[in-house]
C-alpha cells in the first residue's frame, strides 16, 4: 500500500501514542522519510508468495526449555541495594518523586 508523506506523519503520531515514545516534532518530517524508506524495504517480503502450510519460526532454540522450579531466595539487603546509604530514610529506600 502506497502512503503519502502526510499519511506517514499521521502514522508516526499514532505509533508514538501506542509505543509511548514521543517523536521530536522538529524531526517528524525526516523521521517520516526514513520510515517510508524502511517500510519500502520491508514490503519486499510482503510480495513473497509463501504456502499457507509453512509454520512461522519464532526461535531457533530446539533444546528442552529450562523452566526452573520457583525457589525462595533471601531478599537482597537494603545495604546491597544502596551501598552508600544515600537514598535511605528510616531504613527504607527513598525513590525520587515523579509527578
Amino acid at each position: 500500500m502506497w502512503l503519502s508523506r502526510v499519511d506517514w506523519e499521521k502514522i508516526i503520531k499514532h505509533l508514538s501514542i501506542l509505543a509511548l515514545v514521543e517523536a521530536d516534532t522538529a524531526r517528524i518530517e525526516s523521521l517520516a522519510r526514513d520510515l517510508e524508506k524502511i517500510v519500502e524495504m520491508f514490503n519486499k517480503i510482503v510480495e513473497l508468495n509463501i504456502p499457507e502450510i509453512v509454520e512461522p519460526l519464532y526461535t531457533t532454540f530446539f533444546g528442552e526449555i529450562n523452566l526452573e522450579e520457583d525457589v525462595e531466595w533471601e531478599s537482597m539487603g537494603i545495604r546491597e541495594l544502596d551501598p552508600t546509604g544515600e537514598r535511605l530514610e528510616d531504613g527504607y529506600v527513598k525513590s525520587p518523586k515523579t509527578l
Binding site: 509511548l20 515514545v21 509463501i50 512461522p56 519460526l57 537482597m76
Partner: protein, 483 residues
Amino acid sequence: MLPPQCTQFSSISIKTLRERVREDSDFLFKYVEEVYRAIERYEQRLRAYITLRPISEVIDDIENLVKHGKLGPLGGALVAVKDNISTKGIRTTCGSKMLENYVPPYDATAVSRIKNSGGVVIGKTNMDEFAMGSTTENSAFYPTLNPWDYGRVPGGSSGGSAVAVAACEATVSLGSDTGGSIRLPAAYTGIVGLKPTYGLVSRYGLVAYGSSLDQIGPMGRCVEDVAIVLNVISGHDPRDSTSLRVNVENFEKYVVDYPLKRYRVVVLEEMVSEGIDEKVMKIFNSTLDVLAKRDVTVEFRKMPLLHYSLPTYYIIAMAEASSNLARFDGLRYGTRSEAEGKLWVDAYRKTRMTGFGEEVKRRILLGTYVLSEGLYEGYYLKAAKVRRLLHQEFTKLFREYDAALSPTSPTLPPRLGEAIVDPIKLYSLDINTVPINLAGLPAISVPGGFAEGLPVGIQIFGPPLSEGFLLNIAKLIESGRSG
C-alpha cells in the same frame, strides 16, 4: 598485522601471557602497566571505553588471583566487556542516556565465568545504543574511531569491544551479536570475533534487544584467544531458559594449523554478488586460494531466499525490540524525566523521549508498526515464515557441506557519518551477517587481508554447534595469511 597503537608486548596472546607469568610472576603487573600506557596514549582519540576501571583496582584483582592461585585458563587476561552485559558494581549504560547511571547488582553469567577463570574486567566498552547500529556512531556518549584510520567507523554495535582489542587496550573482549554486531566490528578492525550457536552462551545478564537473535561472544586478536574465551563462557546455565544442555567441547584443540578433516565448504552466490566492493572480493578470492592449498573443497551454490533476509531480520528484530524496550519507563530503573502533565503516562512518554536516541525510537516505532492490528500478518508473521524457510534451507545445505564462507561485510569500513545518514545504507552493512542470526547458527569473522590499508574480514559459518570446525578453518586462514 597490528595497528600502530600496539607494541609487541601489549599485543601478546593469552597463551603467551600464561607462559610468561609461569617464568616471572611480576610479568602480569608489567603487562597491565603496558596496556594502561596504551590507553593513556590513545583512548582520548579512539574512545573504546565508556567506563574504565582505575589501574589500582585492576592490580588489586590480579594480586588476589595470584595470591589464591586462581589465574586459571585466562591467566590474568584483561577483558573488556560490552556495556550491555551486566557487571556487578560497574555502570552498565547500554550506550544510552536511559541507563547512564545504572549500576547492576549482579554479574551476567558470562562475566562471572570470566572472573572465575582468571579474567579481570578492565572496563565497559562503547556501543551503539541498545546494540542498535552497525557503526558505533549511535552511542549516546560519543562515536568510537577505527584504529586503522581515525576517519572511519570501527563497525558496530560492539565497536568499543573490537577497538579495545585491536588497539591493545585489552587482551580480549566480550561483545553481543544480534545481526552481526560482533562479526562486523571484528572485520573492520582486523580482529577475530565469534557469534556462537544460539543457546551455547548464557544470555543471563545481557540487556535484551532481539531475544530470539541475541548471543554473547568472544573477540580477540587471534583465533586461539577466541577459542580460550569461548571455552570459559559457554555451557548450560539454569538462569537462561534458552540455554542449551550440551557437553561443551575443548575448543582450543581445534586451533591447529592443519585441517582436522577434508572440508567441503560452500560459497552462496547471493553473498558475493550484489553490492560487494571489488577490493573486498579480491581478498575473499585470495582466501579461497589459501583454503584450496589446504585441500579444502570449495563449491558455489545459490540460495535465492537470501534476498529476503535483510527485511526479514529487521522486521523481527524491531518487533522484539519494541517489546523488550517497553521496560524502560523511568519508574522501575534508569533515567526519569519530570512530567508536566498529571498522568503517569506523561512521565513515561517524556522519559522515553529524552532517554532514547533517534535510532532507538525509530526502531521502537517500526516494531510497533509491524505488530499493529491489520499489519501483523503481512509483516511479522510473514517474516517468521521466511525465517522458517531460511532455517530449512540452511539445514539442507549443511547436510552436504561442513561450512560456508562469505565476506563479513560487503564494503571496507565506511567513513564517519557516511552510513549513518541513510538507514537503508546502514542496515545493508549487515546483509551477510543477519541470515546467520535468523537461523541461530554459529559464525566467525577472521581477518582475510588488507585493502587500501584497511582490514577485510572473512565470515565462516556452519551448522549448529560446529564452532570447533569453524575455529579450525579460521586458523587455516589466519596462518595462510601470515605464512
